[in-house]
């Protein structure tokens, strides 16, 4: 990074300048009088919690959404950006958090869809190879997107932007799907781009990344700019204060070390994928004792979904003995029976699988608590459900309009607190959670992690599948990694580190003789 790029003189024209941007959605003021200045060649962080208004703001810049008020100046010139095509034409590229890729098309075809005047696919493929080599983003243009890993898909998105020689590249939470090593490669690419004069607007809530990468940060909270600073001169604590308005909460993880009976045994579970875009599970071995949290890390799409479905009972195992819950063979049991054996399960999708969007909170309560005396002789005990629902809402600090509020009216964090609370209060022997704090704000995430730890201390066996390594290292007693449908040995958290887990995430581990415990140091 050159000093010219980082410290442009006062005469330099900002690449992008926003003045007084306002966007009103029904019920919320998403952006309230936001100013933002990005200089040429600057890596600028847009920092904030979920719901702080980051996504709305970048959608306005990219022309997906129109601002109600305010001005956009591009290269010193005031203009309106009315659609993404115009934004691209100006030289604004955006890599979305949820990729806009077409699974059944090839990489080259996906890129061709974004590049005007690209009749010659072979020539385009050459360009793609050239760009990917130049920026260290290896990809084969002939491959179909559904065969790519999530990290590779992100590369396709980035290359797609780079082919248009952008002056401003917007990255929306780009590292949430990457291994630590991939993050390092991405940062090198971004630094190289910035060195060539391309501005980068980097959206994240991960403070250490922003400290490492960005030269300036604009912090949003509740739709307003709360600070503009140089993140390299701030501490994570001070950045967190700007972002959430109070100190970053931490959870208390005191492990008594008492381990109980084995609550979950997975013994050589293999499952063919029933979906061409799915992953085949091979020879999975895993034991979890009561009073223990085991975390499973891995890049999305490496078999997490299939493993979770096999454990919850949505997919049946080949042999009953492949999965044992509290000693009972459960591989052949449907989900309801497994719950009867003491399993509780928090799926990845909150709306749709964790809760029915159109149903009230109390009806959603009944969905997983019906085996707990909520139904007598076929009649629903509404007073008991309401009581249970109220306990969940009170104990887990769920903000909602009451027991009769529809599940979809809750924010993501509150709904997740509700679903996890509902499962924890069942008093399960084994709790399986998929991505428990995905898309949840820092406050709610801390509360959820604390609740998981407290449950462990009461003797429950807990399995957490997550892509958030920080979270896994914070709460897990042992960590395993799933890669391409294979599960690594579970190593004590103190005996491993991010480096090793990162290597494992790339598939570099040995499952041979991974009978639990024998392998661990």
């Amino acid at each position: 990074m050159t000093s010219q790029a980082t410290n442009p003189g006062p005469a330099a024209t900002p690449q992008l300048e926003l003045r007084g941007i306002v966007k009103q959605y029904p019920g919320t003021l998403a952006n309230d009088d936001i100013d933002l200045t990005v200089m040429p060649g600057e890596v600028h962080a847009l920092l904030g919690e979920n719901g702080a208004g980051k996504s709305t703001l970048v959608k306005i810049i990219y022309g997906v959404v129109q601002a109600d008020a305010g001005e956009i100046h591009w290269n010193g010139e005031r203009l309106n950006i009315s659609n993404p095509a115009q934004a691209r034409h100006l030289g604004i590229g955006m890599v979305f958090q949820h990729f806009n890729l077409f699974d059944t098309l090839t990489v080259a075809e996906n890129i061709a869809l974004c590049v005007e005047d690209s009749r010659d696919l072979a020539k385009l493929a050459e360009q793609v190879s050239a760009v990917s080599e130049r920026y260290g983003l290896p990809i084969d243009p002939r491959r179909h997107v559904h065969t790519l890993s999530v990290g590779e898909r992100q590369r396709v998105e980035i290359i797609r932007c780079l082919l248009q020689n952008p002056k401003l590249l917007i990255m929306d939470e780009p590292t949430s799907v990457l291994t630590p090593q991939e993050v390092e490669v991405l940062f090198q690419t971004l630094r190289r781009l910035a060195g060539e004069g391309c501005s980068i607007l980097y959206i994240s809530h991960k403070l250490d990344e922003i400290k490492e990468l960005c030269e300036r940060a604009t912090v949003l909270r509740g739709g307003k700019v709360t600070a503009t600073c140089d993140p390299r001169r701030e501490t994570p604590k001070s950045l967190a204060e700007m972002m959430i308005g109070s100190e970053l909460p931490v959870c208390q993880n005191v492990d008594g070390g008492d381990r109980g009976e084995v609550c979950l045994e997975v013994d050589g579970l293999s499952l063919p994928a029933d979906d061409p875009f799915g992953t085949e599970l091979t020879e999975i071995h895993l034991n979890i004792r009561g009073g223990e949290i085991v975390g499973i890390a891995g890049v999305a799409g490496n078999g997490q979904k299939e493993l979770l479905q096999a454990l919850s009972g949505e997919m049946k195992a080949t042999h009953a003995n492949d999965i044992r819950i509290a000693g009972t063979p459960a591989g052949h049991l449907p989900p309801g029976h497994r719950r009867g054996e003491g399993l509780a399960f928090v799926p990845e999708e909150r709306l749709g699988r964790g809760a029915v969007p159109e149903m009230s909170m109390s009806d959603n309560t009944l969905l997983t608590t019906y085996q707990k005396d909520m139904v007598r002789s076929g009649f629903i005990q509404f007073d008991r459900i309401d009581e249970y629902c109220k306990t969940v809402v009170d104990d887990f600090n769920v903000v909602c309009a009451g027991n009769h509020a529809e599940a979809r009216s809750l924010s993501g964090g509150n709904l997740q607190k509700f679903i996890i609370g509902r499962e924890i209060l069942l008093g399960p022997k084994l709790l399986i959670l998929a991505h428990p704090t995905w898309g949840v704000d820092v406050g709610a995430a801390t509360l959820i992690r604390q609740a998981i730890i407290d449950l462990r201390n009461k003797g429950t066996a807990v399995l957490v599948v997550s892509e958030d390594l920080e979270e896994l290292f914070e709460i897990s007693d042992r960590i395993a990694v799933i890669s391409n449908g294979r599960l690594s040995p579970a190593r004590r958290t103190g005996d491993t580190d991010v480096e090793e887990v990162g290597r494992w995430m790339a598939g570099m581990f040995d499952t041979a003789g991974s009978g639990e415990g024998h392998h661990a140091a």
Partner: protein, 309 residues
Amino acid sequence: MAEIDTIVAILVATMRAGTPLLFAALGELITEKAGVLNLGIEGMMLVGAVAGFIAMVLTGSPLIGVLAAMAAGMAMSGLFGFLTLTLMANQVATGLALTIFGVGLSAFVGLGYIGNPIQGLPGLAIPVLGDIPVLGSLLFNHDPLVYVSLVLLAAVTWFLYRSRAGLILRAVGESHEAAHAIGYSVLKIRYLAVLFGGATSGIAGAYLSLVYTPQWAENMTAGRGWIALALVVFATWRPARVLLGAYLFGGITIMGLHVQAAGFAISSHLVATLPYLATVLVLVLISRDATRIKLNAPAALGKPFHSSG
């Protein structure tokens, strides 16, 4: 030579019987590849058949007849598009309603034309090539619409897999959100695809009323619209397999007639069901590969699109 002549006659008749299916199924294939499920083929075919027939009776020109059928089919599909794309009505229910509407409308409009004889479309033997023995009569001695249908097959294949516009169409059918985010007009592309489907369904209807059996009868499509719909699915959205299915259907229809003509004592009703049953059965058997289906099926099929999402 007599046997060869019989076989050639059967094959030629097979192609004729399969052609309306080929037209209708190719249109539906394009429609579905764009992510729209139009169950109204039967209705569009009937309206096309009656419109083409009336235009032919009034003007005496087969070309105008076919054009009128296309226009009528497009009008029907335009109505479908307006209801499902602009007003976002349920595609399945709207398609079914379109068929019921088409059955009634064609019967009403065609009331005065039942039994009205016309001169069917003349054959178009291609000079020189048509004189080649066997092969000539098999490939180069048909009515013009058979050639058109084969050219259309090639054009659709090329369009879908070789042209940029086809790539965009497939992208819209794969994920309308992503296509919208990139900046394509999902509704415009879907309207065009739906209209194309209407036009070919209209031609398919006209083929029945102007060529195959040159007359108008109520409900004369006899479920071919539904078979065309099934063809698209069982052909796993691939044009070449649509051709196979269409000619299979045609072949079994013709075989049935020959079996009856040869004096076998089989109920004519049973024989009439055979083409439907056999076509579906064979296509189901050859398309059991779930991976192929997933890779070729438009992922956004039947899902309504709202741009503010």
